[in-house]
Amino acid sequence: MSLVYAGVLSHAPGITGRAHLVKDVAKRDEFYAMLDRQRQDIEDSGAEALIVMAAEHFGNFFMNNMPAFCVGIGEKYSGPIEDPDWLKIPKTEIPGAPELGTRLTREIMQTVDTAYAEEWKFDHGIMVPLHFLTPNYDLPIIPVNINCQGPPITPLHRAWAFGEAVRRACDSVPEKIAVVGTGGISHWPATPDSGKINVEWDLEFLDRLVRQDKEALLSYSDEETYRDGGQGGFEIRTYIAAAAAAGGPGELQFYTPDLPIFAVGCTVARFDLNGT
């Protein structure tokens, strides 16, 4: 049929891995409840497959051959690559959607030169979202990577174009498809500054996102993002692609900077699928 759901969510490894260290347990559980609401929304949409537009952290792609975009068309995947006791997610197998993924890739390629891959090991960037959105790992997954890690990273306007291509591809097939973008807004993960969050910058970005303000969303330079949002802020590409795929305004369902032990402002949002 087409795209039936579009949203965004955070994916920081602390969300599962450091759950036991959280001081504000009520706030943590409020966040988890909203993630479960997102799971329910995706289930209610009748989605037959879930596209996860993620920003991986050198689980599969490295500077020997770094694609700006990659779509997974494998039969199955495995994850997490990380120590399961550290991430608090056991190693598991995740079903793919090879035939559907291939058709989507063919359509995406009409406007964006994406790479594709039949092999993919998921890191926390995809495993944490799946842990909440398909806890039984029974929904076929089409992983997508946007290069937010290895400079030169994917330009914002290309992330937007990719999101539009994903939407066009979804609308060209009979299956019902959900898409989520997953990344952080401002954060300084995997540094001694882990837990630092620029709330003002986050809220400004989220406002642009839910207003579907393309021009404002694409106006950040990488230098500005690095200064104000940290190296983790480069992951806004995943949210921008999701907004472009959705085409309609968003609803910010959850945001809090009050769980810094998770090293990110924890976010859940969904979009209307019809442009104004």
Partner: protein, 111 residues
């Protein structure tokens, strides 16, 4: 300067269980396949998180390596701070320390 190969090795190690087993069995033998300086090689053999951080290993790659070594979260953050104290600021890449090394979480301050 072989930061690329230093990170390449950790990238392979982090995602490949066979390499992880080989590294557990004989760290030196696995590293023979990579073009590393003596400093880089010793940092890997010793699991020296602080030095690897200062050398400019991408934070995500290093975080996954620290998890592989079984280092607890707050200890891992401290090891990066100690690396800076001992060897100076991060020499390459975008995972620099922006503050003075103070913790940004109550959980860490109150541990």
């Amino acid at each position: 300067m072989s930061l690329y190969y230093l990170q390449k090795f950790l990238y392979v190690l982090n995602r490949d269980e066979d390499t992880q087993q080989q590294f557990r069995d004989d760290r030196d033998a696995v590293l023979d396949n990579y073009d590393l300086t003596t400093e880089e090689r010793e940092a890997l053999v010793n699991g020296d998180i602080g030095l690897l951080y200062v050398l400019g290993v991408n934070g995500q790659i290093l975080m996954h390596y620290a998890a592989f070594l079984g280092i607890e979260w707050f200890d891992y953050l401290d090891l990066m701070r100690e690396g800076i104290e001992k060897h100076g600021p991060v020499r390459a890449g975008v995972y620099t320390m922006t503050g003075g090394g103070d913790s940004f979480t109550e959980e860490e301050k109150n541990r």
